[in-house]
Symmetry: C2
Subunit: 135 residues, 2 copies
């Protein structure tokens, strides 16, 4: 389906498998999860390769990373435009949200304190309606 040709990046079975898997999945998944899933479906890929593929995808802007409170990295296939996430802390379901006001606010506050080259990172966590219902 998606065949993103990034210059200087070779197209291998393993890399496609990782990206294809991420395409199917909804929320953020850890590298270990993805590795286990690939292995389950018989499409065996080395763990180190999963890490390498994910890093490449992140570098190319095709995937977003999120660090959980335990420090474990979670990955998700994302749209390339700037956005933030609304993540269900129970089922991991994710909604992408844009936030023009926050962008402006961050830039302004940073400028007021003499900071240049500003980046920001924002995630919103909550419990989605299904999980609230499920109790």
């Amino acid at each position: 389906m998606t065949a993103p040709e990034v210059p200087g990046r070779r197209q291998t079975r393993q890399r496609s498998a990782v990206l294809a898997l991420l395409d199917e999945l909804d929320g953020f998944r850890t590298a270990q999860d993805l590795h286990a899933l690939l292995r389950e479906r018989g499409d065996a890929v080395g763990l180190a390769t999963v890490y390498r593929a994910l890093q490449a995808l992140v570098d190319d802007g095709l995937v977003d990373v999120l660090r959980g409170s335990d420090g474990e990295a979670a990955y998700r296939r994302c749209s390339p435009v700037h956005h933030h996430h609304l993540v269900c802390r129970s089922c991991g379901r994710t909604v992408e949200v844009a936030d023009p006001p926050v962008e402006r606010w961050a830039t302004r506050v940073a400028a007021e304190h003499g900071f240049a080259d500003v980046q920001h990172q924002l995630e919103v966590f909550g419990t989605c309606s299904s999980c609230t219902a499920a109790g």
Copy 2:
């Protein structure tokens, strides 16, 4: 200086040392850093104890945690009111900033998507004026 008596929490030399050190320091420091600093100044404290102390301080709301891009946790003595950080990515200097608009925005967006129990995490990174000048 600060002698925060938290009920159910014993006051020991080690715990005071960790908190005192954090009081002196400006930016975010990793547990390993803090441990090394304590050891340098002769005030030896076990590494495991530093971790335990920091966790307790975080639980008591006296210290904030931040996860770097490498997943390593960094700690900083902070004011107990809700706030976010403006962090210099070069020297680590930190400014606490409040952000009523973002609070409201996060809550509203979450509600629109049916999410309850909302929390958010926001950090702004940049290069502070001194570091920009120093090139």
